[in-house]
């Protein structure tokens, strides 16, 4: 729990939540059969500035769909999404583009998150050109240092990076934007077990030092428990249980949460502690 007690720069004045999702419904239409599948079913959640909120659920429960809709990057669906105080249903295209860098997403597949034709350096250069004022606060080498990467990495292409290195580059790219909300969609699922803990610690540290809120999406309860204060349990598109981590994990109310907890490796050991 490194940095858990660090002061949040933005907690001095009460602020509006960085993200409010109200009664969100997102449906996917299968293009060949025309069938409609409800991936997110009446989900509501709210994230305060600097908070760390988790969404857990098995694969296919709609977590990614929720994250993409909530950040305005994917299918919108119906329902109210307020991102940093702006309603996504009424925001203009230009305004949305200006708002976007405030919200950064770290995806599951680190190699898929980097353009294979771009070296790390030219990727960062492009981000700086896109957001000149926002990104001038840190040099490339120092930025990579923040994610524990050596500056040699700058001249590599994505296929020359290991999964862990690529994910650190993705985190660095997100950090460069100085976001107010970081959405991490299963950021460690694609990585070797040996580097998973490091990447999680890094996310936690960045959250603590920048005061950004973190929306952590995972199917792994251990990850959630070590990183987040609040958890939403998703099952088949619905949030079946939500609350502070300790409460949900110690006294789960919903049957599905109990199953998840029972399936968790080392569950007994953890709950006894």
């Amino acid at each position: 729990m490194r940095g858990a007690g660090a002061p949040h720069p933005r907690t001095s004045e009460p602020e509006n939540p960085v993200l409010v999702v109200g009664d969100l419904v997102v449906e996917h239409r299968n293009r060949s059969t025309g069938e409609v599948f409800r991936a997110v079913d009446h989900v509501s959640l709210s994230i305060a500035p600097g908070a760390s909120v988790a969404v857990v659920g098995e694969s296919g429960s709609g977590k990614t769909t929720l994250a993409m809709a909530a950040t305005g990057l994917g299918a919108r669906g119906t329902g109210d999404i307020r991102l940093l105080g702006h309603s996504l249903s009424t925001i203009g295209r230009r305004e949305l583009r200006r708002l976007r860098p405030e919200v950064q997403v770290v995806f599951q597949d680190p190699h898929g998150s980097l353009d294979p034709r771009q070296s790390v350096r030219s990727g960062l250069r492009e981000l700086r050109a896109l957001q000149p004022r926002r990104t001038s606060w840190i040099e490339d080498a120092e930025l990579l240092g923040r994610v524990r990467l050596a500056p040699e990495i700058l001249d590599r292409y994505p296929h020359q990076l290991s999964g862990g290195q690529a994910q650190r580059v993705c985190i660095a790219r997100a950090l460069l934007m100085r976001p107010r909300l970081i959405v991490a969609d299963e950021p460690t699922s694609g990585l070797d077990v040996s580097v998973q803990a490091d990447v999680l610690a890094l996310l936690q540290e960045i959250r603590a030092s920048t005061g950004a809120a973190l929306l952590m999406i995972s199917h792994d309860l251990a990850v959630v428990r070590s990183l987040c204060a609040e958890v939403h349990v998703m099952y088949r598109g619905q949030v079946v249980e939500a609350g502070p981590c300790e409460q949900v994990f110690v006294a789960p109310v919903h049957e599905y949460t109990r199953e998840l907890l029972a399936a968790m490796p080392g569950a007994r050991w953890r709950s006894r502690r």
Binding site: L73, G74, R100, H111, G112, L114, L127, Q131
Partner: protein, 294 residues
């Protein structure tokens, strides 16, 4: 997103699998480069026999046959003109038509395919209808209609090549774009505030470059075949210009007396198109992870 997960192979297996196509690309390009070099450079050396008529030496067999003379290595035609000299200059036109014909198909095809695949919606619907309509029309009908209307000339030939070629290019680039636009880095760029134009021009197109080059190569083969077929029918390249296709056409009457007039251009078209198509396939395999895995 599920549909494209197979494109996200781990890079190690991709690198390993791509080794073999690269060497075949080299060995296929080499004879093509030599052919192009010879056809364009030979006339500059002054080694080629004179192009003029010589009624004393009509229908001479090639130099390596009985009755042939090395003054005319590939023999002469019914007017005593040197076949090798004709062959080289006709080859030049054939190659130019192949390259330009591919370009005029690939440029609009790629543009429309990327637009349809990236922006989807009504843009996609309109372009897809056009693609399917074009693919449903038999090419020879399109060609005949245009040529009947406008006569045979090089610009008309390129119009025919563009019309008959763009749809295949558009269909392939459309589906390749559909796959790339769902890659996570595209969402990441959008999150950084990149415009759609920038994403298409700076990220989607470069990631399609391999596919486009491969398609263009295949299109060169198609253009040469179409040109040859039209010229054979007297609808493509017409005198005073000559291509390998039109040489084949003018040589067909002479097949019983002087087979070499039609034989060498025919052989050249076959080998050229075969090599170009093999090269295009190798390039496509090289750049298409779906094929690479097979």
């Amino acid at each position: 997103m599920r549909a494209v997960s197979h494109l996200q192979l781990d890079p190690v297996s991709v690198r390993r699998a791509s080794r073999r196509p690269r060497t075949s690309v080299f060995w296929l390009s080499l004879p093509l480069a030599v052919t192009v070099g010879l056809v364009f450079l030979l006339p500059l050396t002054g080694l080629l026999p004179d192009a003029g008529q010589n009624l004393d030496a009509t229908r001479q067999p090639p130099g390596f046959l009985d009755g042939g003379a090395w003054a005319h290595p590939l023999g002469t035609d019914k007017l005593g003109q040197d076949v090798l000299t004709q062959f080289v200059s006709a080859g030049r036109l054939t190659i130019v038509i192949g390259l330009v014909g591919a370009l005029v198909a690939i440029v609009p095809g790629t543009l429309l395919g990327v637009l349809a695949g990236y922006f989807r919606g009504w843009v996609d619907r309109v372009i897809s209808v056009l693609i399917n309509a074009q693919l449903a029309l038999p090419f020879i009908l399109v060609a005949l209609a245009i040529i009947a209307n406008r006569g045979s000339s090089l610009p008309v030939l390129f119009l025919v090549l563009a019309l008959t070629g763009w749809a295949v290019c558009a269909r392939v680039t459309r589906s390749a774009t559909l796959a790339v636009r769902e890659r996570q880095f595209v969402f990441g760029l959008r999150a950084a505030g990149a415009s759609e134009t920038r994403i298409v021009l700076r990220h989607i197109l470069p990631n399609l470059a391999g596919t486009i080059v491969a398609l263009g190569t295949l299109q060169v083969g198609t253009a040469i075949l179409v040109e040859s077929a039209l010229s054979f029918l007297g609808l493509g390249v017409v005198p005073p210009r000559a291509s390998w296709g039109s040489m084949l056409a003018s040589g067909q009457d002479e097949l019983s007396q002087a087979w070499w007039i039609a034989f060498f251009p025919g052989l050249a078209i076959t080998l050229l198109v075969l090599l170009v198509n093999l090269l295009g396939d190798a390039l496509l395999t090289h750049h298409d992870p779906r094929k690479r895995r097979r």
